[in-house]
Symmetry: C2
Subunit: 321 residues, 2 copies
Amino acid sequence: MKLNMMYSFLKTDIDLIEKELEVAIESQSPILKEASLHLLQAGGKRIRPVFVLLAAKFGHYDIHLIKHVAIALELIHMASLVHDDVIDDADLRRGKATIKSQWDNRVAMYTGDFIFARSLETMTKIPDSQAHKILSDIMVELCIGEIAQIEDKYRYNQSLRDYLRRIKRKTALLIAGSCQLGAIAAGAPAEIHKKLYSFGYNVGMSFQITDDILDLTSSEEELGKPAGSDLLQGNITLPILYAMNEDPSLSQMIQKVSDQTTPIEMKSIIGKIKETSAIEQSHKVSKMYLKKALRDLESLPNTRAKKTLRDIANFIGNRKY
Amino acid sequence: MKLNMMYSFLKTDIDLIEKELEVAIESQSPILKEASLHLLQAGGKRIRPVFVLLAAKFGHYDIHLIKHVAIALELIHMASLVHDDVIDDADLRRGKATIKSQWDNRVAMYTGDFIFARSLETMTKIPDSQAHKILSDIMVELCIGEIAQIEDKYRYNQSLRDYLRRIKRKTALLIAGSCQLGAIAAGAPAEIHKKLYSFGYNVGMSFQITDDILDLTSSEEELGKPAGSDLLQGNITLPILYAMNEDPSLSQMIQKVSDQTTPIEMKSIIGKIKETSAIEQSHKVSKMYLKKALRDLESLPNTRAKKTLRDIANFIGNRKY
């Protein structure tokens, strides 16, 4: 089953959010308008809004309130992508030119700032000031994660724990926050929004680990960027850590990867990583988080929303591209 | 009288804020810690916190509440300086190396993001959700102003109105917001916080115009950067607009300024600008805003805070460096 088929019963609400995202980043400024719209049209799975809506189903679901939370979280995510592209010096994202490649780094920086600010502005439409605190805390952690990603680049002696903490900040907290804020804004009781937070965290961890595996196992066509991009940019992911640990001579090769590494050399290194148990071990860790996520759901009331969260978690943990 | 002598009765509270600013940007990350502390130690007038505290004197002044507003506004200002330095490619600010020159643009971007996020996090300690909305609105306008500054660079046919709108977003709204939020957080009545907002706006406009004049009339020693930096970077300020309008041949020379322009050529152009009435006309506009600011204060109760706001406004509007 395709991902968007799983939540087809939310289609009207998701369409509404898509339209309002466009309104949220409207601006008189020609550059800002074009850059933001460009980003919006590049699409994406809008998975954070979906989590917000599904979590809100565990409380009093009112789309006209909850949409603000969904929009705020998707905007934070979009803003962080724009700033990521500056860091990664990426020219393509989802096969489309990035803002930083089409304009320049400075425009990308301010477009990101603008979208961040719009996100927070949108969230203030929710009267609960706890929600504002949670959102700004997420932003703080996200930024610390981004800086950690710079600090940890090419740092080959980092631990699994460094990696896990980094992806927690980079990915998992935003998904956890989507689930938590959706439930809080809908007035769900604490025992429910805490479970949903934990669910989101575990799904997020599983998702990012799968993403980091796919960066090595997928083709350039599937990824929309060359395979092994993480390694080329010095991002040390879980499978890379496992491979280095298992095979010291491969570890030496990995530590020599640089701008000068040719695509053929890269292909050979990826081949050697696949010969180790790194991919399998990483899959195991991803599955462990997935299992935890599914366990978080167990005590929640049996509703269509719960079934959908389970389907999405399974899809995300098992996806092949 | 020196600026900080004008508000010496606030010294204990300002010292407290200085200490808490340090706590607010604390982080485990070595880069982030060093970059933020470096920025903090570069100092600055902390004029936004001073405005917050003085405005709060018109309500129920409680430093343990109001400090959060003061810190949030100074952090926003600091964050925008960090991102400005990326834009301006500035290597020095207040005579000290900028974050972007000491590390790189990416670190500067995320350090700015981190400080922005900390600012919003700090503000959530104020229970009034109106305050969160005002702060995020200021951030949105600040970002739009930054993008406008890129769009308007080297656009010599821009109008006075373009310039005024830009400095409103870049400078005046943050000072207006400092006065407004200080008064709101202290529970001052609407007629007072509206007057203070207007006062802050007018002071901010006067301040920025004076700054733009000083960029042409001060020495490199006074500025901590070469005179005429705005022009060199393509930032078209009020005196430049007036000079171009008055002298078409000077206008031609100004439009040819680029990276290739030598310091001697620059000195000659600045000399010619000074021969026009541009500086005088710009001073007039600055004085007009200063007068408006002083008028905004008239209806407020006669307190030490009011007298201090008047002294600061006069100082800012008349300063020579």
